[in-house]
């Protein structure tokens, strides 16, 4: 199973193995990793699963939808070039080892 590394705002790292196809957001929420809320359960209708994707994986990510792009304009913490919604990124062999940095706040 692909692993995902979640790095909290204060630098703490949590490594999880997620089933293929599970989103990075669901992995965090269901395993109690703090820093990702996922209020809309992954329907891309809030921005509380905002994350910063480590640059090494950015190019491998699926393209951002128009809707995700719009939602990212409404994040609680600053939007950066590597900002994504973690509900739109699924764990996969290609993204094995991906590093996700959590923002300071989600609401």
């Amino acid at each position: 199973m692909p692993t995902v590394n979640y790095v909290s705002f204060d630098g703490q790292s949590t490594q999880l193995e997620l089933a293929e196809g599970m989103t990075i957001m669901q992995g965090a929420v269901m395993n109690g990793v703090e820093g990702i809320e996922g209020e809309c359960s992954g329907s891309c209708a809030c921005a509380t699963c905002h994350c910063y994707v480590d640059d090494a994986w950015l190019a491998k990510l699926p393209e951002m939808s128009e809707n995700e792009d719009e939602m990212l304009d409404d994040t609680a913490s600053e939007r950066k070039p590597n900002s994504r919604l973690s509900c739109q990124i699924k764990a996969s062999a290609e993204l094995d080892g991906i590093v996700i940095h959590m923002p300071e706040e989600q609401e």
Binding site: Q26, M30, E39, C40, A45, C46
Partner: protein, 386 residues
């Protein structure tokens, strides 16, 4: 021989011993009584919730599905259409978008508590949670103020199941038909005179330039009213049951109301009202040595996953300091409850105001009558002492 019968009044009253056996001995169990599989471990339920391609909701999500609902509500539609539909409503019910609900919730709670002043004992369900939740939904959906008690009675009736015939009885189906009709009138009226309310926004929505299907609008509105009224008051009743069953918890909340959200989260874990939902197997799947075939239905027992010791140590203890993460009190995956922010806000305000008005609130010894339902669990009446 172990059986798991979700129709039995014993399971309505206390499913937890049976859940413990399921988790320990039969983690993928074929229930002959339900004619469905039952998944009971937290890990397996999370897996199923996150794999909608294998465990679909499109054939219905209620253990005893109501006629015509499958495929026509948010909860019974799979991605990607589900996500588009959900996003239309979700934006209006995020925590941030609901700040406007706080003041009306407080004044509605205060109004109904004022009416209970001077009473020694009252029924929390009939005299508080029902009235409070109906008023909140009326506000959110801008419902016409007539006959609200009937709306409430029908919402409670339509989620029930007949324990003897093991299906929806005529009274349950009649309640559902009544609610459909009520929703249909409401939809017609909103189409003519749209307002700023949540329902108007949804009714007027389009996906990729297409209007939503009439049946989709009608049944989603029906479900939102059902959930907003029945599910919310059912959970709130369980929350107050926990608080009065544990006087030390009540004292802690009175002393420090900031702990109320912790009590809500632990109640969602400990004995959520949404005990069981259903999925349909789409691909042959083998789990714990059992093979589930395409077309088989599967019960996901959230209430059991929430007592799984692998995830929640001392799971049978109500622990205010637990702050549980990853509980299944609102389900999970893409179909996790739409109204989480409404529920958390409504419950927080209700408990704050209730404990201000009745800081010594305590339980009354009584044999609880539980709602007969294969999905939901809450008492029909909860007497409390002021």
């Amino acid at each position: 021989m172990f059986r798991f019968n979700p129709y039995s009044p014993e399971i309505d009253a206390d499913p937890f011993p049976a859940y413990a056996t399921l988790r320990a001995e039969y983690p993928c169990f074929w229930s002959e009584d339900a004619e469905m599989w039952v998944l009971s471990r937290h890990k397996d339920i999370v897996m199923a919730l996150n794999d909608w391609e294998t465990f679909s909701s499109a054939k219905g999500n209620l253990v005893n599905e109501l006629p015509g609902r499958a495929g026509s509500t948010l909860g019974t539609t799979d991605p990607p259409r589900h996500d588009r539909l959900r996003a239309l409503i979700q934006k209006a019910v995020t925590k941030r978008a609901l700040a406007h609900l706080m003041a009306p919730a407080q004044s509605v709670a205060q109004k109904h508590l004022e009416a209970l002043k001077g009473r020694d004992q009252f029924d929390f369900v009939a005299e508080f949670s029902s009235k409070y939740t109906v008023d909140l939904i009326v506000y959110l959906f801008d419902l016409p103020p007539a006959d609200l008690e009937i709306v409430r009675d029908k919402a409670v009736m339509m989620v029930q199941t007949d324990p003897v015939t093991r299906q929806k009885g005529p009274e349950h189906l009649a309640a559902y038909e009544w609610m459909r009709e009520y929703a249909a009138n409401l939809v017609q009226e909103r189409k003519k005179n749209p307002g700023e309310d949540l329902l108007s926004q949804f009714i007027l929505s389009e996906i990729d330039g297409d209007k939503l299907k009439d049946e989709e609008i009608l049944l989603t509105v029906t479900t939102l009213i059902m959930a907003g009224i029945e599910s919310l008051s059912g959970f709130m009743t369980m929350l107050i049951k926990n608080i009065t069953d544990h006087p030390e918890v009540r004292e802690a909340l009175v002393a420090n109301p900031e702990l109320i959200p912790d009590a809500i989260e632990e109640s969602l874990r400990f004995n959520t009202s949404a005990q069981r939902f259903r999925r349909c197997v789409m691909k042959e799947t083998t789990l714990h040595g059992q093979t589930m075939k395409p077309g088989d239905f599967v019960i996901l027992a959230y209430g059991s996953g929430n007592r799984d010791e692998e995830v929640f140590p001392n799971a049978d203890v109500y622990d205010l300091s637990r702050k549980p993460k990853g509980h299944l009190g609102f389900g999970g995956g893409v179909h996790a409850c739409l109204g989480t922010a409404i529920a958390r806000l409504a419950c927080k305000v209700a408990v704050e105001e209730l404990l201000k008005a009745f800081p010594n609130l305590s339980k009354v010894d009584q044999e609880l009558r539980w709602m007969p339902s294969t999905n939901f669990r809450s008492p029909l009446e909860l007497q409390v002492k002021a």
